[in-house]
């Protein structure tokens, strides 16, 4: 392999390409990833209950804990923080020490962070089910729990930055840049959404403005850079193929850093905020096409001549499907920030269709690819079942496509009806029942994929795979 690397880039010495002989303990990685996969399944049940309530509104309706107003925040926060962010954090603990050629700065601090994260998620489940919430999108967690999130994030950030500070190599790989960005941006974004929105005088449209700045940047400056860090690491590693262009990846990173933060106000287009603010958010939303196309072109070009690997490499299946969903969702985003399109799709089912393609289709697919790649390696074993992993992929893909498509079409249909004042609102609700039926049955497929994913990963961790005697060293 070293010869192959030198053949591609003669300027790289073989010593530079040989990694550190130090052994990674990866205890933190295991704790975070196994916990995240467990929460994915638990919150998946909540998602199914919500989907069922759209079709059968009386379902579990008289039990306060299962009312829509409590279930929906639990689903959203559980998926975002219990599953996806925890999985990305676990993968960051795996990626950063390897990219830096050193051990994790503090395994004990990592384990403490994992314990605190589990306390946070369990507290979130109890408080949200009990009806204690702030009522702000993505910032529903009660303030004491949000404070714990900040503490855990500081612990995570200290560990990752201290590891990077002790790195062996001067030039950092792009994943390291994205993860550093994630940590810093999250600090600003999370504090704004969870605390600045509660300041005296921040009410009404001001609170909405800050909330949407937070909500959109929670996706754009937390889950996007974390997900791209994971994808930039695992696409080359899973395919054993060098990234197409590191220079282009840096162009994508810096353009994302410059343009994403300005886009949140596009959630309030045609709302009671300044026209100039709406226009700024639209302009920067369109400019998002630059970092997105830079990323997607890099991923697709990396796979040039390597597409055959998709047939028997489940991590690559998830990664490249996630790439396609990323392209689609980031084309939708700029387009529905245009005033004419927004007038139809805003507040309709189109939006959850778009959000699910971003958070589930793109970043959860990428995180699952990372988990499928990492868990066998950190437990020094083989994946329990390749067949089950493939089944989980197809269940996610078919279920996801069913749900996304139903919500996009239903959302447009809903928007057109809402733009016709002669149609009573309740008629537009009844008309969407078939769409919600498709969403429910698609949700069953997705949940089946989650169950297979959970079974496969936990079985692998519990020792059902074939143990590896010796690491491969070349």
């Amino acid at each position: 392999m070293a010869e192959a690397v030198k053949a591609i880039q003669p300027g790289i010495s073989s010593t530079a390409a040989v990694a550190s002989p130090e052994i990674h303990h990866d205890t933190t990685v295991k704790w975070f990833l196994l916990g995240a996969v467990g929460y994915f399944a638990i919150v998946g049940i909540i998602a199914l209950i919500i989907a069922a309530k759209f079709v059968w509104p009386q379902f579990l309706g008289t039990i306060p804990y299962f009312t829509y107003g409590r279930m929906r925040p639990l689903h959203v926060n559980g998926m975002l923080f219990g599953w996806l962010l925890a999985a990305d954090m676990g993968l960051a603990y795996y990626i950063v020490p390897r990219l830096c050629g050193v051990k994790l700065w503090s395994e004990k601090l990592g384990i403490a962070t994992s314990i605190l994260w589990n306390i946070i998620i369990l507290s979130a489940i109890v408080t949200l089910l009990g009806g204690y919430q702030k009522g702000l999108e993505y910032a529903d967690l009660p303030t004491p729990v949000a404070v714990l999130v900040v503490i855990a994030w500081v612990m995570f950030g200290v560990n990752i930055f201290a590891t990077i500070a002790t790195r062996k190599y001067n030039q950092m790989y792009v994943s390291t840049w994205y993860l550093m960005g994630t940590i810093l941006w999250t600090a600003f974004v999370y504090l704004t959404g969870n605390f600045a929105t509660l300041l005296p005088g921040i009410t009404g449209v001001n609170q909405a403005n800050l909330t949407w700045m937070y909500t959109h940047n929670a996706v754009g400056l937390i889950f996007t850079p974390a997900g791209l860090a994971v994808a930039y690491y695992f696409i080359p590693r899973a395919s054993n193929t060098p990234l197409f262009s590191h220079k282009l990846s840096m162009v994508g990173f810096w353009s994302l850093a410059f343009v994403y933060v300005w886009t949140g106000a596009h959630h309030m287009i045609h709302g009671p905020i300044s026209q100039w603010l709406q226009t700024i958010s639209i302009v920067f939303s369109i400019m998002l096409l630059i970092p997105v196309w830079a990323v997607v072109y890099n991923f697709i070009a990396t796979m040039k001549g390597e597409w055959h690997q998709l047939s028997d490499n489940v991590s690559l299946k998830f990664l490249m499907s996630g790439t396609v969903f990323y392209l689609l969702t980031c084309f939708q985003g700029p387009m529905h920030s245009l005033r004419s399109v927004n007038a139809i799709v805003s507040k309709t089912d189109w939006i959850p269709g778009h959000a699910h393609m971003a958070v589930l289709g793109t970043f959860s697919f990428i995180a699952m690819a990372g988990v499928y790649y990492v868990i066998p390696r950190v437990f020094k074993t083989t994946l329990h079942s390749e067949a089950a992993a493939n089944w989980s992929f197809w269940l996610f893909l078919v279920g996801g496509l069913g749900m996304f498509t139903a919500l996009w079409l239903g959302g447009f249909w809903q928007g057109w009806q809402w733009n016709n004042p002669s149609i009573p609102f309740i008629d537009t609700v009844v008309a969407l029942k078939p769409v919600w039926m498709v969403r429910f049955f698609s949700g069953i497929l997705i949940f089946s994929g989650i169950v297979l994913f959970l079974y496969n990963i936990w079985s692998t961790a519990l020792g059902s795979g074939k143990a590896q005697a010796e690491p491969v060293r070349s």
């Binding site: 950092m172 840096m250 300005w262 690997q309």
Partner: protein, 68 residues
């Protein structure tokens, strides 16, 4: 006409300036460190060999022949 969004706009655009300023600072620093220079492709080759503990965990796919 009164624009009632000003308090939140002031706050959020203060953050935007802070973030954009940080991005400019670190972007310039990364240029000085050669991230867009002639050796900027080096990390992508190094990362393929970054794990001494790596084991072959998939019977197919990950071990298939690669393009040079």
């Amino acid at each position: 006409m009164t624009d009632f969004t000003y308090p939140s706009v002031y706050f959020s655009y203060f953050l935007f300036v802070l973030l954009a300023g940080g991005a400019v600072f670190f972007f310039v620093r990364s240029l000085k460190d050669g991230y867009l220079g002639p050796n900027s492709e080096e990390p992508k080759y190094r990362m393929l060999k970054d794990d001494p503990d790596d084991v072959e965990t998939q019977p197919t796919g990950a071990g298939a022949p690669r393009r040079p």
